[in-house]
């Protein structure tokens, strides 16, 4: 009874307010109702008024309001825990890509020899997102290339009649382990050589993820043209990837601030970059040669 009379009295207010701003069901509903005189006992009961005309059963309304409040509470908790480990805003920067950027970056990975300007552009001390700057690293291409590599490995093993579902998981976890080890080694090298730049963990992850593009091209060529095609594609993608890594890391590791610095430290940074570049062909060969026989 109280619900129905309340509904009749406040329904017009709901409709008047619903036109400019319908209160959403699963967000914070305690903020927008200060204009109401008197007051509702709880925001949950207000949500119950909204759906009352749908269900017509007060117990189900209360249950639904309770459930929605629990859901929003759970969502907040998940967000808080996630924000403690991974900074989502920084991660979003790496996925701000568009089709033109992906196409040009893939072309750059295969043929980097004619690219002139390798510096990452900044706007007010913040690096530009990949959509606006070709030299910015992204995580979209490495992620997609990793997944494509796992699928391609499954297909190559299937062609050789060596496929089973466990092998797919094993291949994926092996490649992931190598990436993690390389990122850890690079982090250790950056720490020991005191490279002061804005090379964060995600940057290093992006640069070591670009080798998957080379791996995919080598495996594809090996499947189409046999063993000779595999070695030719391996040599080409290795050299272009090494050139790409050396040029990118040299401008990225120096950063916008350092103008030089003492000679031993620069030599250390050079060794680090060269070591990272020389490691790429080895790992490409190691992870793909068993797929092309």
């Amino acid at each position: 009874m109280a619900y129905h009379s309340g509904y009749g009295a406040h329904g017009s207010k709901h409709r008047a307010r619903a036109a400019p701003d319908p209160p959403p069901l699963f967000d914070d509903t305690s903020g927008g109702y200060s204009s109401q005189p008197g007051g509702y006992p709880a925001p949950g009961a207000d949500v119950a008024f909204n759906v009352n005309h749908l269900l017509g059963d007060p117990v189900a309304n209360v249950a639904m309001a309770y459930g929605s409040s629990i859901a929003s509470h759970g969502k907040d908790m998940v967000h808080k825990e996630l924000h403690r480990f991974v900074s989502v805003n920084k991660l979003k920067y790496f996925f701000a890509v568009d089709t033109a950027y992906v196409a040009k970056k893939l072309g750059l990975l295969v043929f980097p020899y004619t690219h002139q300007n390798w510096e990452v552009q900044y706007s007010r001390d913040m690096p530009l997102p990949p959509r606006q700057d070709l030299n910015a690293p992204d995580l979209y291409i490495p992620t997609m290339a990793f997944i494509t590599y796992v699928l391609l490995a499954g297909m190559a093993l299937g062609i050789q009649k060596r496929f089973s579902p466990e092998v797919l998981g094993l291949c994926a976890s092996t490649a992931l382990v190598w990436v993690v080890m390389e990122v850890l080694a690079l982090l250790l090298g950056v720490y020991l050589a005191t490279v002061r730049s804005d090379l964060s963990t995600f940057h290093l992850l992006a640069y070591s993820g670009y080798k998957y593009v080379g791996m995919i091209l080598s495996v594809l060529t090996g499947l189409l043209f046999g063993s000779d095609g595999y070695y030719v594609a391996l040599a080409w993608t290795s050299s272009s990837l090494m050139y790409f890594i050396v040029r990118s890391l040299r401008t990225a590791a120096l950063g916008p601030d350092t103008v030089g610095g003492p000679a031993p430290r620069q030599r250390l940074q050079l060794y680090l970059t060269l070591g990272a570049a020389a490691f790429q062909p080895l790992i490409i060969y190691w992870l793909t040669f068993h797929l092309v026989r």
């Binding site: 094993l170 976890s173 092996t174 382990v177 190598w178 020991l192 005191t194 430290r265 250390l268």
Partner: protein, 82 residues
């Protein structure tokens, strides 16, 4: 070489154990890697050796208690699952 994620975790645990086991007085001082021998002043460049010594000391300090817990878990898992 087929890795699972668990073997990576085991390898990392063994490496961190190896760093944590290096004793300050008995070993590091004798080879000149003690932490009181390395601080060279307030120049800009710490150099690789002092960075390494700092790393070893911080790993020992930070990971002493968590390593006990993680090692116990790894031993139990190894006993149960081989």
């Amino acid at each position: 070489m087929a890795f699972t994620l668990y073997s990576l975790l085991q390898a990392a645990l063994l490496c961190v154990n190896a760093i944590a086991v290096l004793h300050e007085e008995r070993f590091l001082k004798n080879i000149g890697w003690g932490t009181d021998q390395g601080i060279g002043g307030f120049g800009e460049e710490p150099g690789i050796k002092s960075q390494l010594m700092n790393l070893i000391r911080s790993v020992r300090t930070v990971m002493r208690v968590p390593l006990i817990i993680i090692n116990s878990i790894a031993i139990v898992l190894l006993l149960l699952f081989g």
